[in-house]
């Protein structure tokens, strides 16, 4: 009984960490980017201030907005929190972690994207439709690569359940698996596309012709915008955590082992700091590419994932 209670407490702790850490993570990435580019920073807690400011503002709603437009921020937020509760971040034994395997998690992200795209088309401006069209195109192209990467990782653990995958890798002998290396490369490419980072999309731009994700949410304001922004931050955090859980799970707490939780939190923080450094290196080193170069970019992600699968069959 106490084990069950403790696992539920753990679940709550994980969600609280998700809500609190996602803005800090994005703040860390922005700060780091400023340092790299020789600018002064606003500090890693700036995203909190942005969110608080937005939550305090009133909403200006377009006259012809329908209920889709108004419900979408809540749905996006809901889906993102749900995914955050499912991915095993701190411990492999979470009550909700068997709600969805990796494929279902990818679909949950797809569901929140589906509503974002609809909201983009709801007002009836050209920007919104453009953003929706581009976002859905890029997402469709990322999907086969994502599935291939999942397939490759699941070959080693014979499972698509994240807890199981994390356990198998964390307990297995520490060897360099070429299949996992290729899959990780593919996963990084896909994450950049899915979270709308350079070189696929630029999160900092409001230049009309190049924006993708921002174009869909142009008409949002006030708490609606705050929810969407917060969910966007959590999405980046969740992709980082998804990568950590499936490729670098070492340090994750075992079932029923509560003493390991503080260590797990610490290890997670270190991993996230490093993930942020990696992300900033990529974003500073590369330029945003043209929209019609993205298929090649995602095609190479697919290729890497396929190579990973082939190398599993040939070498392992």
């Amino acid at each position: 009984m106490s084990e069950m209670v403790s696992s539920y407490i753990l679940e709550v702790v994980q969600i609280v960490i998700l809500l609190a850490a996602a803005p800090v993570f994005i703040g860390w990435v922005r700060t780091l980017k400023c340092w790299f580019q020789g600018r002064t920073t606003a500090g890693i807690f700036q995203p909190y201030r942005d969110l608080i400011k937005l939550f305090h503002k009133d909403i200006v709603l377009a006259e012809n907005a329908s209920w889709i437009f108004r419900i979408t921020p809540y749905l996006i937020f809901g889906f993102t929190v749900l995914i955050g509760a499912i991915i095993p971040v701190l411990s492999v034994d979470l009550p909700l972690s068997s709600t969805a395997d990796v494929i279902a998690i990818v679909s949950l992200f797809a569901m929140s994207r589906f509503f974002t795209a609809l909201a983009g088309m709801d007002i009836g401006t050209a920007f919104g439709g453009m953003g929706s069209s581009r976002e859905m195109t890029i997402a469709s192209l990322a999907e086969p690569a994502m599935l291939m990467a999942v397939f490759t990782v699941s070959l080693a653990s014979k499972s698509t359940s994240l807890s199981q995958m994390a356990q198998v890798i964390a307990h297995g002998p520490l060897v360099l698996r070429p299949s996992l290396a290729f899959a990780l490369l593919a996963f990084i490419f896909i994450s950049l596309a899915e979270t709308g980072r350079i070189p696929v999309d630029n999160p900092a731009t409001h230049l009309e012709l190049t924006m993708i994700h921002e174009a869909m949410i142009l008409e949002y304001s006030g708490r609606h915008l705050a929810l969407i922004e917060w969910a966007g931050m959590m999405k980046l955090y969740l992709f980082a955590v998804l990568g950590i859980a499936s490729f670098f799970p070492w340090g994750i707490a075992e079932a029923g082992n509560l003493i390991a939780i503080p260590i797990a939190i610490l290890v997670l923080a270190v991993k996230l700091v490093l993930a942020g450094v990696g992300l900033v290196l990529i974003e500073t080193g590369l330029a945003k590419m043209r929209l019609f170069r993205v298929p090649e970019f995602l095609g190479s992600a697919f290729l890497f994932a396929t190579l990973g699968m082939l190398s599993f069959f040939m070498l392992e």
Binding site: V60, L108, S132
Partner: protein, 614 residues
């Protein structure tokens, strides 16, 4: 019953039962919808023929799945085809309707000939080509067919059923016939008539022939993948809402065939559980597709009923005027895009699980190739989501794009109830998959000898664990509850303090003169896909601009036209049609209209016969 010496046989086994339920369920719902829908015709045209052929059509489908001999099967099959032909022809004053119906009946009959030949072969082998006694399915089950003849038999039947199901490249009738039929009929044709072809394929492969090599499954799998991918790519390029739905049926039939093909491959390697998983996924998708495609066609019918418009480029903003239809249509869109927690997701998830288990097969070639199939299926599923964002977004969201602003009202209650029932079915099938799988498990158990319900529901009805809980698990109820919980919590927290919502004009980055004509159109929405996958289509794009003062800088007007066509029509059908017309013309020259010439023909024939048959 039946002819003298040729009695009809009827049989109700689990597979027939499954399809009977399917036909009965959607038939019932669509019939409720039809009460409201047909009201729109009353006063304009006689609806007696619609009612008669509608009932005959339903009866034909019931008889097809109940038939237990080739003779009765083909009679029912033809009743179904002929009735649906007249239904497509219902509004026969328009040329396009007559053309579509003609194309439909031609392809249906080419398919029926192939099915007839296939049954003929099986019946022949069953009775040793000596009597007519082999025409019952029971005799065919016990026939011993040599392997290469078995392949001929199966692929003849597969060809025939594929023509009915609209598998690429035999799909051309589908996007012609579905849009022009009355929408309640389109819902039935797409929702259940295509499924009778799926029934036929399963019946012939798993029941009548039973023993097959792996490459049959591979061929079915590949054709399924081609249909899924090309079907959705074509669907994305459509501006006609019903045509888009018709092409999306091609995609979904492809997905179902992927499940059947995988199941056949697994079955030929004697892995019953995997085969059962793939077959269950395919059948589950069959049921799901009937529900959401029925819903979507009924929704498209409601839009057509209210606006008299099929072209999405002239619609928009219907969510404000048709709240019920738009909400229900949205549920259909989410379901067909395979998004949780609705039903399309469950069947595609099961299918991916079956794909991911393919490394268990002993063949290295298949180990490499089957994952590629999974990737293609993922691409098709993601493009489907894009396609239905477009369908819903352009039709229901934004602002009305048409020239004049007609009076648009929500449809009547019969139509709303019909759509509502399928929408509820979509949600229930997504949330309670374990109950559904337990119900249909007997089909897989009787054909491939594998059972799923033991493992799939091992942790109670909340958790779906197809093979084992370590392998993969999914819980629809928890996704739904979690979502509703978080959303309502956030909503309550944010609404604890009242905050005013100011209504204002569109912002659009500060651009002031936004008009509804500036919205993103359906054509524009699919432009990236048209460019990336352009080589699949026949695209003709033209832009003519008129200038003021004959200078390029002063544009007065721009006329843009775009034609995107299916390449198969030009590649495959046009040559065949041309050749048959050429032969017909040559043969026509024999008819001179002069009695002397005909007498010479008769004389020459007699001489020839005397020489040959001495």
């Amino acid at each position: 019953m039946g002819l003298p010496d040729l009695p009809f046989h009827l049989r109700l086994d689990p597979l027939s039962g499954f399809f009977l339920t399917l036909i009965g369920a959607l038939g019932f719902i669509v019939s409720i919808y039809s009460i409201g829908y047909v009201k729109g015709f009353i006063g304009h045209r006689p609806v007696t023929s619609l009612a008669i052929f509608y009932s005959l059509f339903l009866a034909g489908m019931f008889m097809v799945v109940l038939a237990d001999d080739a003779f009765f099967f083909l009679i029912s099959w033809e009743v179904m085809a002929a009735a649906s032909y007249f239904l497509v022809m219902f509004e026969d004053e328009r040329t396009e309707n007559r053309r579509a119906a003609f194309l439909y009946i031609v392809i249906a009959h080419i398919g029926a000939i192939a099915i007839l030949l296939s049954f003929g072969l099986m019946a022949g082998f069953a009775s040793g080509f000596e009597s007519f006694n082999g025409y019952t399915f029971d005799a065919m089950r016990h026939a011993s067919i040599p392997p290469h003849w078995a392949a001929v038999t199966f692929f003849l039947a597969f060809f025939g059923f594929a023509a009915k199901a609209g598998v690429i490249p035999l799909h051309v009738w589908l996007p012609e016939a579905h849009p022009v039929a009355p929408s309640n009929v389109s819902a039935l044709m797409s929702g259940i008539m295509l499924k009778t072809a799926i029934y036929g394929i399963i019946r012939v492969a798993f029941d009548l022939i039973r023993d097959f090599p792996w490459w049959w499954g591979a061929v079915v799998l590949i054709l399924g993948l081609v249909s899924a991918l090309l079907g959705i790519l074509f669907a994305l390029q459509q501006q006609d809402l019903k045509k888009l739905l018709a092409y999306s049926s091609v995609e979904n039939i492809g997905i179902i065939l992927v499940g059947i093909g995988l199941s056949m491959t697994f079955a030929s390697f004697h892995s019953p559980v995997l085969s059962a998983l793939a077959l269950t996924a395919g059948l589950y998708h069959t049921f799901n597709h009937a529900m959401f495609k029925g819903l979507l066609f009924m929704g498209a019918g409601a839009v057509l009923h209210a606006t008299h418009e099929r072209n999405m480029e002239r619609m928009g903003g219907l969510i404000h005027r048709m709240p019920w239809t738009s909400a229900l249509f949205l549920i259909g869109c989410i379901s067909i895009s395979a998004l949780p927690p609705f039903n399309g997701f469950v069947s595609e998830w099961l299918m991916f699980q079956a794909f991911l288990l393919s490394p268990a097969l002993p063949s290295t070639l298949l180990n490499f190739l089957i994952p590629m199939g999974a990737a293609l299926l993922a691409l098709a599923a993601a493009l489907a989501a894009m396609c239905f964002v477009k369908a819903f977004g352009v039709t229901f969201l934004g602002q009305w794009r048409g020239q004049h602003n007609p009076e648009i009202h929500e449809v009547n209650w019969f139509m709303r109830i019909g759509m509502g029932m399928t929408a509820i079915a979509c949600l229930c099938l997504g949330i309670f998959p374990t109950a559904m799988i337990r119900w249909m498990d007997v089909i897989a158990a009787s054909f491939v000898g594998g059972e799923l319900s033991e493992s799939a529901g091992a942790f109670g009805w909340i958790w779906l664990t197809p093979i084992s809980h370590e392998r993969a698990s999914y819980s629809g109820p928890i996704v739904l509850l979690g979502l509703v919980g978080v959303v309502s919590l956030v909503f309550l927290l944010l609404h604890a303090r009242r905050k005013t919502i100011h209504k204002g004009p569109l912002w659009d980055c500060g651009f002031e003169k936004v008009t509804p004509r500036m919205q993103y159109t359906a054509t524009a929405f699919s432009m990236p896909v048209r460019r990336i996958f352009g080589f699949y289509f026949h695209v003709r794009e033209r832009q003519v601009s008129k200038h003021l003062l004959d200078h390029k800088a002063f544009i007065k007007s721009i006329r843009y036209s775009l034609k995107t066509r299916d390449r198969f029509m030009g590649w495959l059908y046009q040559p065949v049609a041309d050749v048959s017309f050429w032969i017909a013309r040559k043969a026509g020259k024999l008819q001179q209209g002069r009695i002397q010439v005909y007498l010479i023909y008769s004389f020459a024939t007699i001489i020839l016969l005397l020489v040959l048959l001495r």
